[in-house]
């Protein structure tokens, strides 16, 4: 298992790369055939928030109270300070401290 580059692993990586590249280029390419009507414009405008919520909410709920509390803290910091950096740090520190204090999740 200490081979430098294993052939079967390279094949798996190549397939994963192909799928990911196709995702990145495919959306842009397909959109070239879509007429940006006001309706499509609304869909595009809703995507950032929708992707964020869809990707983070199940993870947060799954993560339990510590993760939810840390995300809440990050949002509160953002509302007060509008600083993404402090928000991310707050989320990490709150979670690390809560876990160090013995809370699980």
């Amino acid at each position: 298992m200490t081979d430098w580059l294993r052939g079967d692993v390279m094949i798996a990586f190549a397939v994963m790369t192909a799928v990911t590249v196709a995702s990145r280029l495919g959306g842009y390419w397909l959109m070239g055939y879509v007429n940006v009507t006001p309706r499509v414009r609304r869909m595009l405008d809703a995507l950032p928030g929708s992707i964020i919520v869809a990707a983070a909410l199940p993870v947060a709920v799954n993560g339990g109270l510590v993760v939810m509390f840390a995300i809440g803290a990050a949002m509160v910091v953002t509302i007060i300070r509008r600083n993404d950096f402090i928000a991310v740090m707050t989320g990490m520190v709150v979670a690390a401290l809560a876990r160090a204090a013995g809370f699980s999740g």
């Binding site: 200490t2 079967d8 842009y28 940006v36 909410l57 993760v67 949002m75 989320g91 979670a95």
Partner: protein, 294 residues
């Protein structure tokens, strides 16, 4: 607004006062943390206009390199920590450092790499590779949605510039670029500079983690698993444009949770995101007089 008027010319159209986007460069270039609170967008009076700001076509100018990098700055420590945690995981799973580096540079999808390596099969067969491909696809298909939203901005650029730029789309870089665009920015360099810095950092981030593997066996101890969710949360707050525009978020969250519990794997991301966007298609802006709700 010009494209929209050709789509449906209505008597009400003339009533909309054209909002001239005279974003002074100093403002649209400003790093996000110094952005003024976007109060105009929350003003109910201006609501019909919020999605229809006429935006300039894309151009390249070095002026946005620094602001673009500053905008993704908050992502850098988290990206490094995430990459290190991934390197440590790969060391435990007996990947060689050279293999890890190839995956970082070519696959370049942090979450998908994590998910794939965590469920890496003992034996790679055509079947198990296909399973890995499907897993990667369900995690990364959201990139297709992201680059789709970049088309109205980058579409005026030549393909040989736009398509390679799309290869570097990630959550953080895209979100920062969309926020810049929302404020009227058009300089494509803002996106590319941030995206390339994120890529270069990711390309080296796994190395210290791989070498320090024993110390990093539990990334949760340092809250590393909070990097992405906390950044997402920080991005969601300024995206708030009143409850009406948040309905798709509710739909997205509800569908994502349901799919998460009902369907194994990572389908919940794309299912939630698509549902949110589709619901937005059916939520009409407060109609200007004369516009029929379709």
């Amino acid at each position: 607004m010009s494209r929209e008027s050709s789509a449906r010319a209505t008597p009400g159209h003339a009533l909309k006062a054209p909002r001239v986007v005279s974003v002074p460069s100093a403002r649209c270039m400003a790093p996000m943390n110094r952005d003024p609170l976007d109060l105009t967008a929350a003003d109910p009076q201006s609501k019909p206009m919020t999605t229809h700001i006429n935006k300039a076509p894309a151009y390249w100018s070095r002026a946005a390199i620094r602001p673009g990098i500053v905008a993704i700055g908050p992502m850098l420590p988290g990206t490094l920590a995430f990459g290190m945690a991934f390197g440590a995981l790969c060391a435990q799973k007996n990947f060689s450092l050279a293999e890890v580096q190839l995956m970082m540079v070519f696959v370049y999808g942090g979450l998908s790499q994590f998910v794939a390596v965590q469920s890496w099969p003992d034996l790679l067969t055509p079947g198990s590779i296909a399973t890995l491909a499907l897993l990667t696809m369900t995690v990364n298909i959201r990139f297709a949605l992201m680059t789709a939203t970049l088309r109205p901005w980058f579409g005026s650029l030549p393909s040989w510039q736009a398509y390679p730029a799309m290869l570097f789309v990630t959550d953080g870089g895209w979100l920062a670029a969309m926020r810049y665009r929302e404020h009227g920015g058009a300089n494509a360099m803002f996106y590319l500079a941030g995206a390339l810095v994120l890529y270069l950092l990711w390309a080296v981030a796994a190395i210290p983690g791989y070498l320090l593997a024993e110390q990093l066996t539990d990334p949760k101890k340092y809250g590393v698993d909070l990097v992405m969710p906390a950044f997402y949360a920080a991005m969601l707050v300024p995206a708030w444009k009143g409850p009406r525009r948040a309905i798709p978020w509710l739909v997205s969250g509800g569908v994502a949770l349901a799919v998460h519990y009902l369907v194994p794997g990572w389908w919940f991301i794309i299912a939630g995101a698509l549902s949110g966007a589709i619901s937005a298609a059916f939520i009409d802006e407060p109609a200007p007089a004369g516009t029929t709700a379709a």
